[in-house]
């Protein structure tokens, strides 16, 4: 696991809302041992919007279920506000979950659903109904109190599920792909809504998703998971611009991965020179002869027909394909080293394309935008 310093400092000094220490979960089914989570360490701060992002089957749900108490870790400890809760049943943990399928109680009205948790905690009926009504107002469902869940649309059910959890003012809210069942338009509207609600109530959100855009736009920090482990933990910007592994680079957005042999070094920079006039520079401690892999995001690269002046990064290539995308034009370029590079060029002027298919071009970018993978 790679944990950047910035990520560490985001936690602050107060007691963490959630802390996972060396969490391992192995399932036994049909005689096989399935390692769903293979050692996860994470500290989630108070009031943070924290996302678990990763491909299907990487252990996101399992991790969340161990925080909620539905599954107990095979190894490791779960701390909620500094208290070890391993062995504490879900009904005694001060966290609430929003299920992907919502899991609303079909035999209860919307109001009864939302008041359920308060009633179980011993809040008097009238008071519980009052608070549930208030929460329904926050999620914009006033006037729907008496309906049954199945009489609501998908987005409305989703908000009932959210209200039902939030009304208890848990110390953390766990959301397992809460927008997974909604269509794109509603999904985007709900992302904004969720973020607004989170700011309003100030509760820690742990958000599971396999949608990178969702994670990038909503989160304070993201843990990218792969195969039961955290590959990278950091702010959306760090994760996006400085992927710590090939996996993260490939999983988050479009990323170009370049590799080469270091030919020169100087002032903390490693320089790769594939051909005459070509150079890739990156901040990295290395010695000549080292093999390095680095990434650079498509929108950071410029395409031009003549060699760039100055001492930035420069690579020669041939345009494979040009795709006009409205705001951007997307160039697919094969470099002199044989690598496939994607470049997004913003369409600022209405001038003709910078290059067309088959053209020889120069790619250039600021060395600050290349990052060595796994550094």
């Amino acid at each position: 696991m790679t944990q950047t310093e910035e990520a560490d400092s985001a936690i602050g000094t107060e007691l963490a809302a959630i802390e996972l220490k060396g969490i391992v979960k192995t399932f036994h089914s049909h005689g096989d041992a399935v390692a769903a989570v293979k050692g996860v360490d994470v500290t989630i701060g108070e009031g943070e919007f924290f996302s678990l992002l990763g491909p299907s089957g990487c252990g996101k749900t399992t991790t969340m279920r161990m925080i909620a108490g539905f599954d107990e870790p095979t190894e490791g400890d779960v701390f909620l506000h500094g208290k070890n809760v391993v062995g504490v049943p879900p009904n005694k943990r001060d966290v609430n979950m929003v299920f992907q399928s919502y899991a609303l109680f079909p035999h209860m009205s919307v109001l009864e659903n939302v008041a359920f948790g308060l009633r179980r905690k011993g809040v008097a009926k009238d008071e519980a109904a009052r608070r549930a009504g208030e929460m329904l107002e926050i999620v914009d469902l006033k006037g729907r109190e008496k309906r049954r869940p199945r009489e609501l649309s998908g987005g409305q059910q989703q908000r009932v599920a959210l209200a039902r959890a939030l009304v208890n003012r848990p110390s953390a809210l766990l959301l397992d792909e809460p927008l997974g069942a909604l269509d794109l338009k509603l999904r985007q509207a709900m992302q904004v809504e969720l973020k607004r609600i989170q700011r309003e109530v100030g509760i820690t959100f742990v958000y599971v998703t396999h949608d990178q855009n969702e994670a990038l736009t909503m989160s304070d920090r993201i843990a990218v998971m792969n195969d039961g482990r955290i590959e990278q933990l950091g702010s959306p910007r760090e994760i996006y611009e400085r992927p710590a592994s090939r996996f993260v680079a490939g999983f988050i957005g479009t990323s170009n991965v370049l590799s080469g042999t270091v030919s020169r070094t100087g002032s903390g920079k490693a320089i790769v020179e594939p051909g005459p006039g070509e150079r890739i520079m990156v901040s990295h401690e290395a010695v000549p002869g080292d093999e390095i892999e680095l990434t650079v995001r498509p929108e950071k690269i410029d395409v031009r027909s003549d060699p760039p002046d100055g001492d930035g990064c420069a690579l020669r290539g041939t345009v494979n394909e040009v795709v006009y995308l409205g705001m951007f034009t997307n160039y697919n370029v094969t470099t002199s080293t044989g690598a496939e590079v994607v470049v997004f060029v913003q369409n600022v002027s209405s001038a003709d394309d910078v290059a067309t298919r088959g053209d020889s071009v120069w790619l250039s970018w600021d060395p600050r935008h290349s990052y060595v993978i796994g550094a």
Binding site: N91, F99, A103, P106, H107, F116, N168
Partner: protein, 284 residues
């Protein structure tokens, strides 16, 4: 036009079947219940309503006993069936079908035969009671057969699967995520059961009660085989009136009386339980 008729065409075979084998006999029986006469001289429709009042006053104790046995056996069925259905639905895992098959297994043996085997097992000097009597755990004159208890126990045993199956079906449909959601919302396991699982299984209990209470109240095999002479149910009386006394009018009148009582009972029961709610949950 053709499209509109299609649904009617589909219900035609079943509808005809019901008309011929249910409605027609019902009408015939209804008219019998208002006749007078005997097999030798024939029966005549004389609108003899006294068949009803005489039936009620002569056989009131058997009627009441039938209803009491019906309620007792039905309640016993619920109490015994619910945990079984629950266990199969939530803990049955991959073997659910096997367990359901085991529940249905007794149906492969004749109902009457099984009831007789009970008589054999529980006989005063049978293989269960005599050893217990020999070692002095039970008094020598202790007996099970020919008691109301034996009848209710037999009824419970025979109709148990009819209670297990509908409850199982209802429980099977309860999304386990709902139980987790309840627990997540601070409900202890018993609370999660009482507030979520049980209400959602009520349609199954409702169906199970219908499927047991009605046939149990009208049963005559169990009381004949296990009940001796002092525990006759209304089913025995009706059977005797038909087959032994050939007093068809009286038998028919009693049958309709029983049916009316059961229908009213079920109606009140549905009212009390709030059928609308039950049906609403069932069709969610």
């Amino acid at each position: 036009m053709r499209r509109r008729l299609a649904p009617y065409a589909l219900i035609l075979p079943g509808g005809l079947w019901l008309a011929i084998f249910f409605v027609v006999p019902m009408v015939v029986m209804l008219s019998f219940s208002l006749m007078q006469g005997d097999v030798v001289n024939g029966f005549r429709l004389t609108w003899h309503w006294q068949n009803y009042s005489e039936g009620l006053s002569t056989y009131d104790s058997q009627l009441i006993r039938s209803l009491i046995y019906g309620v007792l056996a039905t309640v016993a069925c619920i109490v015994l069936a619910y945990p079984v259905a629950y266990w199969i639905a939530f803990r049955g895992g991959a073997r659910k079908t096997t367990y359901l098959f085991l529940i249905l297994l007794p149906f492969f043996v004749s109902f009457v035969l099984r009831t007789f085997s009970w008589k054999f097992l529980l006989a005063d000097d049978g293989i269960v009671l005599s050893p217990l009597k020999d070692i002095g755990l039970l008094p020598q004159d202790f007996h099970v057969i020919a008691t109301g208890f034996a009848v209710v126990a037999g009824l419970t045993y025979n109709y148990l699967p009819f209670m297990v199956l509908p409850i199982y079906v209802a429980l099977e449909r309860v999304d386990p995520k709902l139980i987790e959601a309840a627990q997540d919302l601070y409900a202890a396991p018993t609370q999660a059961f009482l507030r979520v699982v049980f209400p959602l299984s009520l349609p199954g209990v409702f169906a199970g009660v219908l499927m047991t209470f009605v046939p149990v109240s009208a049963d005559y095999v169990n009381s004949t085989v296990l009940g001796g002479t002092n525990n006759t149910m209304i089913g025995n009386i009706i059977q005797n009136l038909y087959l032994v006394n050939t007093d068809y009018p009286q038998a028919a009148a009693l049958s309709f009386t029983l049916m009316a009582i059961l229908l009213i009972g079920i109606f009140l029961y549905a009212k009390a339980l709030g059928t609308e709610d039950v049906l609403e949950v069932a069709t969610r």
